[in-house]
């Protein structure tokens, strides 16, 4: 008798917990991002409804898109006809969940607005003459719909986070031999609110696996030198 009562009580408890649960938990409002980047974003992920500007470095955009698309969310890229999709594939972006609108033309704002309604992460390269009203409207729409807007290039003031690759140093290529293998990139994050403090971090972008990876300071120098010294057979040698 007593055991049954406990089971029943537990059932009640679960019901109460469900009622007491806040409508939207903070983690539901957060999209995952890959490891070294999460430390640079306020809250440790892409907060839904925010605007994250990638000022410089398309590799950063790919690193942002990788985790959401591979965990079942949708991504879209508007107005980047020169996006390296092979690199996106290597960076871990699930191409089946990435819609591309290479050339939206004059309708870029309408297209982006339509995508914000349903897609989780929308990367957009605004036209050279970006109208501030358009930008504000899109940012407001993203906030309302809970999408993450990722403008690439210049964007108006007021974005929550701004990311850029400040400097990069490629490893693996020497005078006449080797090939590009990895890059130590210095990523700078600025922004407002929780991100106002600003961060500067070095990481592999892309790393040995093609994805963004954290840089271990003690190994970093040694790895770079070793790999630079090992030549890679060129095509003639391979035959």
């Amino acid at each position: 008798m007593r055991a049954e009562a406990t089971v029943e009580g537990l059932g009640h408890l679960a019901g109460v917990a469900g009622r007491a649960r806040p409508l939207v938990l903070a983690e539901d409002r957060l999209l995952p991002v890959a490891a070294p980047l999460d430390a640079m974003l306020p809250g440790g992920g892409l907060r839904r409804g925010t605007t994250v500007v990638v000022e410089r470095g398309v590799s950063l955009l790919l690193a942002i898109l990788a985790a959401p698309t591979s965990s079942g969310r949708w991504g879209a890229v508007v107005g980047l006809p020169d996006l390296g999709l092979a690199a996106a594939h290597e960076a871990g972006v699930e191409l089946g969940r990435l819609a591309l609108v290479p050339d939206p033309g004059a309708q870029w704002a309408a297209v982006t607005a339509a995508l914000i309604d349903a897609i989780d992460v929308i990367a957009v390269r605004p036209p050279p003459r970006l109208r501030e009203a358009d930008a504000r409207r899109l940012a407001a729409r993203a906030r309302e719909r809970g999408a993450v807007l990722v403008p690439v290039g210049s964007w108006i003031e007021g974005a929550e986070v701004r990311l850029r690759i400040e400097a990069g140093e490629w490893r693996g290529l020497a005078a006449g031999h080797g090939h590009l293998q990895r890059r130590v990139a210095e990523v700078v994050a600025t922004g407002r609110g929780a991100a106002a403090r600003g961060q500067r971090r070095s990481c592999w972008l892309p790393g040995p696996s093609g994805r963004m990876e954290a840089l271990e300071p003690e190994v970093a120098g040694a790895v770079g030198e070793v790999e630079e010294a090992s030549p890679v057979l060129d095509w003639a040698g391979v035959g």
Partner: protein, 549 residues
């Protein structure tokens, strides 16, 4: 046995080629004459001759190559004319069709009057200058076809002449139950088994009667299944029933709008009703539509149409949504200048509805449907090719390793290796076929299309070239890039010094095809400013193919 009427249009390949029977024409396939016109036949051209032989017998013969598609297409009016008698018509070959006569011959008062009617109707449908058709009625399609072919010669019982026709017998009726005796005197060559017929002739079996007189088990053991089938035909037993299919269902739905719709939602509402109607019809037949053509006509006579395709089957809401997006897109881009008077949905690609299995895990189907609708809306604005998705593919350059397909079309890898394993879609590791000369990973994040013109110089300031053996003329020391300024890659004055480089990776592609042949050499370069570039040399010009941004 099914009482069958066969219609035979003589020399159909010649008729389909739009040549009159009075002109000497021979249709050739694989260097052999397969059909010829009456004029050519008069000069001694017969099917089976070599082309050269036909030309020697009839020097002014016109030789045409066979076009089965055109033959089938031009036979369609004849089939339509025959279908006026009964809708279930079997097309045996372009030029020969048949139907079961049970109902029609009762209606027209017997096989003879029916045959006369069919001759008159089909002759009216034939193009001018074509030889008239011939009709045969017998038990079973085989005997009926032979009766039709034999009708022109005027032999056999029950043959009659068409009214007022200059030709003698245009139709021939073999009385019911007499097919076997009627077939008996015909030569074995009419069985269309050239190898067996040759053997039979050498064995002294010259007519179908001789063949039918043999004991059945011996025929099977000596001549195999093909011989047994021929034996049954010769005995007047036509086992194969008439493969008459129902006429293709008319699945096109359309609605005329009166008064014309001035607003998108009015027209979209009509389109939704049409989509529901269409899907109901498709469902009743167990069919699913994977491609639909949306057509719209306006008051000003503009006719707009666009094909929509979906990997899975289109459901009624999806179709209505696409119609709405399309209408919105047309109105937004100013393609329509007046009210919409007609909306039509044409199912373009229809297949059996084998259902769709959704993933078992993950309840994101609602979000996926939402995303699909938003993308369909964008496709309505920009056209179906405006939204694309990328499929990993084989190739050497960074731009070639990805193929883009319009959103909604099946994402199948075309490269042979991926097809062999067939797993590229599921994200598992696929063994890629080798691409010698491929630039190693990581791939560049920016692929310039078109590539930016560049120039590469050695230490002495001479242009760097790549020899036929794939060797650089000198180490690259500096480069200049045109058109990079203003790009996201960012170029400044320091971009003219080469700090590190590797290569060249040469690729000689499609050397077997003179038009698609490409010879390229690629070079990885890190400039003094730290920018990594992929340079490509083609036709003596260096270009920046991609930036490792």
């Amino acid at each position: 046995m099914t009482r069958t009427l066969a219609v035979w249009c003589p020399d159909w390949p010649v008729v389909a080629a739009r040549r009159p029977s009075s002109a000497p024409v021979a249709i050739v396939f694989a260097n052999r004459v397969v059909a010829c016109s009456a004029a050519a036949r008069a000069d001694g051209v017969v099917p089976g001759l070599r082309r050269r032989e036909a030309q020697s017998r009839c020097p002014d013969v016109e030789i045409l190559s066979r076009d089965p598609a055109s033959e089938a297409r031009s036979f369609e009016p004849v089939v339509a004319a025959v279908a006026a008698f009964t809708p279930r018509v079997e097309v045996h070959d372009p030029g020969i069709c048949a139907f079961a006569t049970r109902g029609p011959s009762r209606y027209f008062g017997g096989d003879g009057p029916l045959a006369a009617q069919v001759v008159a109707t089909v002759d009216a449908a034939l193009p001018p200058g074509a030889p008239g058709c011939q009709v045969g009625v017998a038990d079973g399609p085989f005997a009926a076809r032979l009766a039709a072919r034999g009708a022109g010669s005027g032999s056999g019982s029950g043959s009659g002449s068409g009214d007022g026709s200059p030709r003698r017998g245009r139709w021939q009726v073999v009385p019911p139950g007499r097919s076997r005796t009627w077939l008996a005197p015909l030569p074995v060559s009419c069985l269309d088994q050239p190898d067996l017929a040759d053997l039979w002739l050498r064995l002294g079996i010259r007519t179908l009667g001789d063949l039918a007189a043999l004991p059945a088990p011996d025929v099977l053991s000596r001549f195999g299944p093909e011989g047994a089938a021929a034996f049954r035909l010769a005995g007047g037993i036509d086992a194969a029933p008439l493969a008459a299919t129902d006429p293709p269902p008319d699945l096109v739905v359309q609605a005329e709008l009166d008064p014309p719709a001035q607003r998108v939602d009015t027209a979209a509402f009509v389109a939704k009703g049409l989509a529901d109607d269409l899907l109901e019809r498709l469902h009743a037949r167990g069919l699913a539509c994977t491609r639909v053509l949306i057509e719209v006509e306006t008051e000003h006579g503009e006719s707009l149409s666009r094909l929509w395709r979906h990997e899975g089957a289109l459901t009624a809401p999806a179709m209505a949504e696409r119609a709405r997006s399309q209408l919105e897109g047309w109105l937004a881009t100013g393609a329509t200048t007046a009210g919409i008077t007609l909306v039509r949905l044409v199912p373009d690609e229809v297949g059996p509805d084998d259902g769709r299995q959704l993933g078992f895990w993950g309840g994101s189907a609602a979000a996926d449907a939402l995303a699909g609708r938003a993308l369909a809306r964008v496709q309505g604005l920009l056209g179906p090719a405006g939204v694309v998705t990328a499929v990993p593919d084989g190739g050497r350059g960074p731009g070639e390793r990805i193929r883009v397909v319009p959103w909604g079309e099946p994402r199948e890898p075309v490269c042979a290796g991926a097809q062999r394993t067939g797993r590229a879609m599921r994200g598992t590791q696929v063994e890629e076929p080798p691409w010698p000369g491929q630039v190693p990973a990581p791939s560049p994040a920016l692929v310039h299309d078109p590539p930016l013109p560049a120039a590469v110089f050695d230490r002495a300031g001479r242009p760097v070239r790549v020899s036929a053996r794939g060797e650089l003329s000198a180490d690259p020391a500096s480069l200049s890039i045109g058109g990079l300024a203003g790009r996201a890659g960012g170029a400044n004055g320091a971009d003219d010094e080469v700090a590190a480089w590797a290569g060249p990776w040469t690729a000689e592609e499609r050397w077997w095809d003179p038009r698609a042949h490409r010879r390229r050499a690629r070079l990885q370069v890190v400039t003094g400013a730290g920018t990594a570039l992929l340079l490509v040399l083609e036709g003596g010009c260096w270009m920046v193919e991609a930036t490792y941004d």
